[in-house]
Chain length 186, copies 2
């Protein structure tokens, strides 16, 4: 197991570099008024990728999360760049994070992070027919790649280092899709 | 279908009322240094509740989300109050949002929102043996309650108003638990 990074210090910041705080004045259909706060991202959206090595084997990455201060095991993901389609962004992140590209990329659905107060939207992309190709990313260290069987998701969610809602949701959605039960909506 | 609220206006805010921005100076085991930003909540955590009317029927709520500016269908949830256990908070939110209390409450797991940049943690609580009891909440309007079958989750995730990662993850985790495949870890 890799040694976690040393936290040299934490500091308060005035504002965020990638999220803006916005106040929304609302009037509900019953006349009730509220002002709610929401966090607004760049608007380009994000991708989370379900990379399949074969019909039952998914590739996960172990990555340090500064929010939770530990390594988390989950799906590769990242923000979309300007002038990039969802499929292009998914393939780029795949090459940066796990060292594979995919010949087949398929958007399954879009997940929100917290509908109440975040505008963030993440496209779930199933990646198949993988081939080795690495792109340099901005990760501080190479990510460990872990194979897992979709037929054993119930054991994956028992692990204390598997906690991200979007990752778990995307894995179950991919499993339903591959079993022929879930049909992506246009 | 209920009419969505009117947005009278949106304004930039200097900072958030419930999240603080923190900068973390990190040194990875390979010597790489990074400063990452994270959003820090109150630290009390949140709960998301899977309220079961019977072994296959879950109660969902349709609630307006200011982050995505539309109604979202998902599980009841909320932030924990001071001096409240996870089970107490789950039962309170249940009474406020769907008008039921539960005689049986069981913590299944804890979900993170975005490990990379949010400290937020949400406890997933299975609620069974329900009885009618309503508590006044801070919701601007009464929430519509919708019954759904766990055996038909593949149809739920096809709906355009079902998008929240935590809600979808919690529903599949509850289904694995009720099928006897997933064992909550102590």
């Amino acid at each position: 197991m890799r040694k976690p990074p040393i936290v040299h210090g934490t500091r308060q910041a005035e504002g965020s570099h990638f999220l803006r705080v916005e106040l929304v004045d609302l009037e509900f259909s019953n006349g009730e008024r509220r002002t709610y706060e929401r966090l607004k991202g760049s608007g380009l959206g994000a991708v989370i990728i379900v990379p399949m090595r074969d019909d039952d084997t998914v590739l996960l990455v172990r990555e340090y999360g500064a929010g939770i201060d530990r390594y988390e095991l989950g799906l590769p993901k990242g923000r979309l760049d300007q002038d990039e389609t969802v499929e292009q962004g998914a393939n780029r992140e795949l090459k940066e994070e796990i060292g594979y590209g995919a010949r087949e990329l398929h958007i399954l659905t879009t997940l929100s992070l917290s509908p109440a107060y975040m505008t963030s939207m993440t496209h779930v992309v199933l990646a198949r027919d993988l081939y080795p190709e690495r792109l340099p990313g901005d990760e501080p260290e190479e990510l460990e790649v872990v194979e897992w069987k979709l037929s054993r998701l119930h054991e994956l969610i028992e692990r204390p280092d598997v906690s991200e809602g979007r990752s778990i949701a995307a894995l179950f959605i991919a499993r339903e899709y591959l079993a022929g039960r879930f049909r992506p909506q246009p």
